[in-house]
Amino acid sequence: MKDSGLIVLEHITKSYVNDIPVIEDLSLSIREGEFLTLLGPSGCGKTTILRMIGGFEKPDHGKIFMDGKEISDLPPNLRPVNTVFQKYALFPFLNVYDNIAFGLKQRHLPADEIRKKTEKVLEIVDLEGFEKRQISTLSGGQQQRIAIARAIVNEPRILLLDEPLGALDYKMRQEMQLELRQMQRELGITFVYVTHDQEEALTMSDRIVVLADGIIQQADTPEMIYRKPANIFVADFIGVSNIFNGFVTSSTGARFLEHDFSCESDLPIGSKIMAMIRPENVTIVPEESGQVTGKVDGSVFKGDVYEVTVISGKSEILAYSSRSYDEGTSVGINMEPGSIHLMPFDVSTNRFEGVFDDKYEVVLEDVTFAPDISKIIPGAVMDNGVWKGPDKKPLALQGRKVQVYFDPSDAQLSDDENAGIVVGNIASIIYVGDHYVYIVRSDNDWDYYVDDEWLWNAGDRVGVVVPQECIKYRLV
């Protein structure tokens, strides 16, 4: 056995429509007794993973193991797993007692054992004496507790919870977070918890798995996820962060915001990085004693702190402060050395594979490019409408695969859908100091990276404009 996890997912792929994968080659091991949270924005595939563990969906590829035995094709009723559904899914035609006893009755336990277990579990969720109540007479919070009771009464090895607190109000949610955490410790049941609420995830979990587009971005303890995010997506999704472009200057230093900061990393010297620092680790000091100087752009009262925005050069820096600063005040900024976290610059260049058609044009998705053939094949010349190679023979380019690539910083967004080489919707926005990094997703589900200094909204339909001379081609 390769992995000793209670539940092991191995190379899972799952797609619903048009073969666009919801989950892409995902592997994950869930340890016995842990409180694991699947965290990500909506549509990231977290509920699909939960449903596959529960048995409601089958993976297209890959295997699911429990205790080393494959359970990929086992129906839900034969898995020692219980689920707390998003909208509780309590049976409206049964009272509280019969709802909780449903699973026990399926196992044909003796009546007095069912009664004892049901009473005990009602005690655990603090709803003693509710046996005869109808579901429709219960409040949302009470229904929530009954849903949990109905699941844990079966003493499952694993409890799956699908955004169980989503429908509760803020105060109730915080109470239930603590209760669930305590319950999990006392019962010793493995919890797999799905949420899009990062605060919930940080509060409750032993381990958080951050997902985006069906791919695990990072799986680690809440503290590590917060302090040492693996990439800018995680840094941006969890908490508030400042992200700056820069490069590594030594094994103990990096340069960004036109200043040399001391920070440790094992990234190669000279490599491009993104530096992340949380606003609570940024301190505002008198102008003359700051590592970086700038002007205050505004202060927002957040209840416990002021969120102060400082403009330094072209970059925007967020800092938490106990007092507010007037707009236009010149200030200095200091960054706590231990709290600067460097991430590899992972916003890759846009690289796609196209094919030559019969008119010396490259077809990519629905777009055609007319490259200068002489730049792709040195020495090629145009002769009577036919491109000829250095050996004067006509080039047989049709059907040849060609790589098309361009740098995100050469691209721009336009609200004229037809202005650019391709049109799509903005799928992600990340602010990095002096500009935004956008992911534009075309209708064919291709992602294009674009750097743009103007703010657009997620979901905006935009054209991606790239000047002809910035598009590069290479024969495959």
């Binding site: 529960g54 048995g55 409601f56 129906p75 839900p76 009723n77 797993v81 219980n82 689920t83 559904f85 998003q86 909208k87 899914a89 309590l90 049976f91 409206p92 035609f93 449903f102 699973g103 399926q106 196992r107 429709s136 109905r150 699941a151 079966n154």
Partner: protein, 259 residues
Amino acid sequence: MKLERRYLAIPYVIFLVVFVVLPLIVVTYYAFTNGEGQPTISNFVTFFTNARTIGTFLYSLFVAVVTTLVCLLLAYPAAYILAKGYFAGKGGMLLLVVMPMWINFTLRLTALKELLDMIEGNLAMYPFLNTIIGQTYDFLPFMILPIYNSLTRMDHSLLEAAEDLGAGKASVLIKVMLPLSMPGIISGVTMVFLPSMTNYVVLDMLYNSTFIMGSLIGSYFSSYDWHNGSMVAATLLLLIVLITYIAEGGSSASGERRG
């Protein structure tokens, strides 16, 4: 002056008074009077002591019960398959269920009669079977549609929850799906049971018999016996009210409350 919205109800209120309320009063009056206009309950006494009338009553009841059961047994799986969308053209399948209702009722029965005649050789050999076939043919859509509606509106996560709690396919069906579709079943039953108790066209055409409540009322009225005719009508009305009342009680207890 602005036209108040409640004035829009006036045409219907007039219709209601003329065609529902007044006839009810007339029927009740006739049911409790004799030929001389004296109040009496003797109409009811004769009905429930006469072997012929009570026999017709019981037979009609029996026909209605069997028709309803057959309809239910055929309709539930059909509605389930339709609701699950096993067939690509779900709308088309539903249309096939509804379409017979667009064809004239007697025309359909005439066709059915010819068909049965061809298969059985002589209609008189299986009178009861033919009655049930005719009634089922007639009322099946009224059973399928409400059940189909309740199945499509069903919260799928409840079925998953049952599976999650260890219920196999059969258990999910009996313990969760059936109770959840109860409102549909009940409205289907009320829509099939009551008409099939009084529908005499089917019996008349397939059985050549007038041995059903509808024709009993008809025969009284055609012989100008308003009092006994009204009495039978009033009795049936009472039965309908009673059954509806019981059914609604059951439906609100088992159905989910919508806020």
